[in-house]
């Protein structure tokens, strides 16, 4: 365990950024999102959640896949180069780290997504414990301990110091490069931070949310419930929940005509959008009820069914605080528990 005084953090960021790209939470026009560090940016380590999750670092909202150029009768195809340089992502929360583990289940299984895989191999994740969890947090429900972050390096913040613990080989390697800035620390300070965090987590209103009735194999039980309709009536069909979510992984592939070439790119898609999974024959989900149901069934039933019970919700609470209609996954879980037995 190492420590560094908070006022020396800019020096740490500088040193990290000298060697590789550094991505961390940055405040821009009042909002905190993960972005590339330089000396000009305003780093904000106090924000619990960035607006968008940090999944962009591995699975960007938009990325070019390849470009086709016409040259006489020939078509030249240029593949986008895979990430080949290391980068550090600093300050990822424990829930968002689980989000990356969820994405791994999707993109690192056969057929492996080479664009994602390259970024995962070159990304070094420094996670940070949540000093002040909020009422919207429910990571505990998914057995995430926000006082004990996983990652290549785990970090904790108190009012004077940042504590730094290398965990993996990647984490140890990056620690060696910056260790000149660190002092050795015993575990006591971190244990105190952890106790404080856990005592707050116990008091969080959602910490004891029950997932009973959800999980692998519950499709038939939930699919035809009239409860979905009551939610869909209020849903604006925007993509806020899907675009801020750390685990939403659906994407669309499109062509962009640049005038003299065609760029094939992929971008995040949202199951809330009307053209989601549009096929030649049309769309297989024609109502907002079906689209709404898809999102929550995917998180709470289909994903666990296909991934040994792993939920694809991590309890970050972003949808709880950002949905324009105040609908969210917690309300879905609760309403099924309250009204599930009723025929309506």
């Amino acid at each position: 365990m190492y420590k560094i005084a908070k006022e020396k953090l800019p020096a740490l960021f500088q040193l990290l950024a000298n060697e590789q790209e550094l991505i961390l939470p940055i405040k821009n026009s009042g909002q905190v999102n993960f972005g590339l560090w330089d000396e000009e940016v305003e780093v904000d380590l106090t924000a619990l959640n960035s607006v968008k999750s940090p999944k962009d670092a591995f699975f960007p909202q938009g990325e070019s896949l390849y470009t086709c150029k016409k040259d006489g009768k020939k078509i030249e195809i240029q593949q986008e180069e895979l990430r080949d340089k290391d980068f550090v992502i600093f300050g990822m929360r424990p829930c968002d780290y689980r989000g990356v583990e969820v994405l791994d289940k999707v993109f690192l299984v056969d057929p492996v997504d080479s664009y994602y895989q390259a970024r995962r191999e070159h990304g070094i994740i420094v996670t940070m414990a949540c000093s002040e969890p909020e009422e919207t947090c429910f990571c505990k429900v998914f057995d995430i301990d926000c006082a004990d972050p996983k990652g290549d390096v785990a970090a904790w913040l108190d009012k004077d110091f940042l504590y730094w613990k290398p965990v993996t080989d990647k984490g140890k390697a990056i620690t060696e490069k910056v260790s000149s800035l660190f002092a050795e620390s015993d575990d006591k300070a971190v244990e105190t931070i952890q106790e404080d965090i856990r005592s707050i987590v116990e008091k969080l209103p959602y910490s004891n949310l029950s997932l009973e009735g959800w999980g692998a194999g519950k499709t038939d039980e939930k699919f035809d419930s009239p409860i979905w309709e009551s939610f869909a009536n209020s849903c604006l069909a925007c993509g806020t929940c899907t675009f801020i979510c750390p685990t939403c992984q659906c994407y669309d592939i499109k062509d962009y005509n640049t005038g003299n070439s065609v760029e094939r790119y992929r971008c995040w898609d949202s199951c809330m959008y009307s053209d989601f999974t549009m096929m030649a024959h049309g769309n297989n989900r024609t109502t907002q009820m079906q689209r709404f149901r898809q999102r929550f069934m995917h998180k709470l039933v289909y994903f666990p069914t296909n991934n040994d019970g792993m939920y694809s919700c991590v309890g970050c609470g972003r949808c709880v605080s950002k949905c324009p209609s105040s609908l969210n996954i917690v309300k879905v879980i609760k309403r099924f528990q309250e009204e599930g037995g009723k025929a309506n």
């Binding site: 026009s29 806020t240 917690v330």
Partner: protein, 319 residues
């Protein structure tokens, strides 16, 4: 609030309406959701408080397709949107029974959080104060400091269309409606560009602004067309991130009632209403004062031709 529930139950019971469009209580003090209530029992979860900022007018598009009347609760400013939707034939007056509800300004959770509030357990409203109990101690805030932006330019306490009114309203107008626009107009071109660049580069293309907007009521949006040669779900470059919002602002020009829902719902806190308000200001200056949604009949300046209309050259000369 009880009066609203009682009246709703009466109207359901005597068959005047078949459903009710209102707000349903959330699991926190601050997150009620817009909801359709279909029976008296469901109305037990009806709520009307400072966090019911959501404008229910646009939900009447769907309600107008249903059999029978829907009771809809509208705040004074929501009635402007309702009128505008009526004018555009997107909703059916005969399908709505409007109860105008009193309003003394709605609260912004973002502003409460910006005031340093974390870990909210309970929020209690008083006339001029808001008490917040949190996991990290309690706080009292001035109501006027945590109102939605739109409430600072409140249109007044008059409901522009209604069948009956329940409750008192209070004007919360304490800012000039064009002061923010004027501040931007005074900037140099470079400053303006930087300002909007900074704000719009946060856009995640979630379309919440468009989908909540009562003026954005096209059956199919051009941005949802898969024949549109541009990205709809991502800003592939800095041109696209501006294009979406500027096209939208042009499209709702003359029809936007300045309800402020776009700015309320933006997850990235982009002050989208500024675009619309700039157009409102320009229209006022070029064609005389006009407020979309004041009534459901007057033809708007951009859809009417008169010989007194400003010549395009005048607009060009204004810069």
């Amino acid at each position: 609030m009880q009066e609203l529930i009682t009246r709703g139950k009466e109207l359901l019971a005597d068959g005047s309406v078949v459903g009710i469009l209102g707000w349903k209580e959330g699991d926190f003090s601050y997150n009620p959701e817009p909801a359709f209530f279909q029976n008296e029992e469901e109305l037990d979860k009806f709520i009307y408080d400072g966090f019911c900022g959501a404008n229910l007018s646009k939900f009447m598009i769907e309600a107008s397709k249903k059999e029978g009347k829907t009771l809809v609760f509208l705040k004074p400013c929501d009635t402007y949107s309702f009128n505008q939707l009526l004018k555009e034939h997107r909703i059916d007056r005969e399908k709505a029974y409007i109860i105008g509800v009193g309003c003394s300004g709605k609260l912004s959770l973002d502003k409460i959080k910006e005031a340093g509030v974390k870990g909210i357990q309970k929020i209690t409203e008083e006339e001029d104060k808001i008490h917040v109990e949190t996991l990290y101690g309690d706080k009292t805030l001035n109501r006027s400091d945590v109102l939605l932006d739109r409430c600072h330019v409140c249109k007044g306490k008059e409901h522009r269309i209604f069948d009956e009114i329940i409750g008192e309203s209070k004007e919360t107008n304490d800012k000039d409606k064009f002061s923010e626009v004027e501040a931007i107009e005074k900037m140099s071109s470079e400053e303006k560009f930087l300002f909007f660049q900074k704000e719009l580069s946060k856009c995640i293309r979630c379309n919440a602004c468009r989908n909540v907007c009562p003026a954005c009521s096209c059956r199919k949006c051009v941005f949802d067309s898969n024949k549109f040669d541009s990205a709809q779900k991502v800003n592939t470059n800095s041109f696209e991130e501006k294009m979406f919002h500027i096209i939208r602002a042009f499209h709702v020009a003359g029809r936007c009632t300045d309800c402020g829902e776009c700015s309320r719902v933006c997850p990235e806190g982009i002050p989208l209403h500024l675009f619309n308000r700039k157009f409102i200001k320009d229209i006022d200056e070029l064609y005389g004062e006009f407020r979309a949604g004041e009534d459901a009949e007057t033809v708007g300046p951009l859809t009417e031709f008169t010989f007194d209309d400003a010549e395009p050259q005048e607009a060009v000369e204004r810069g």
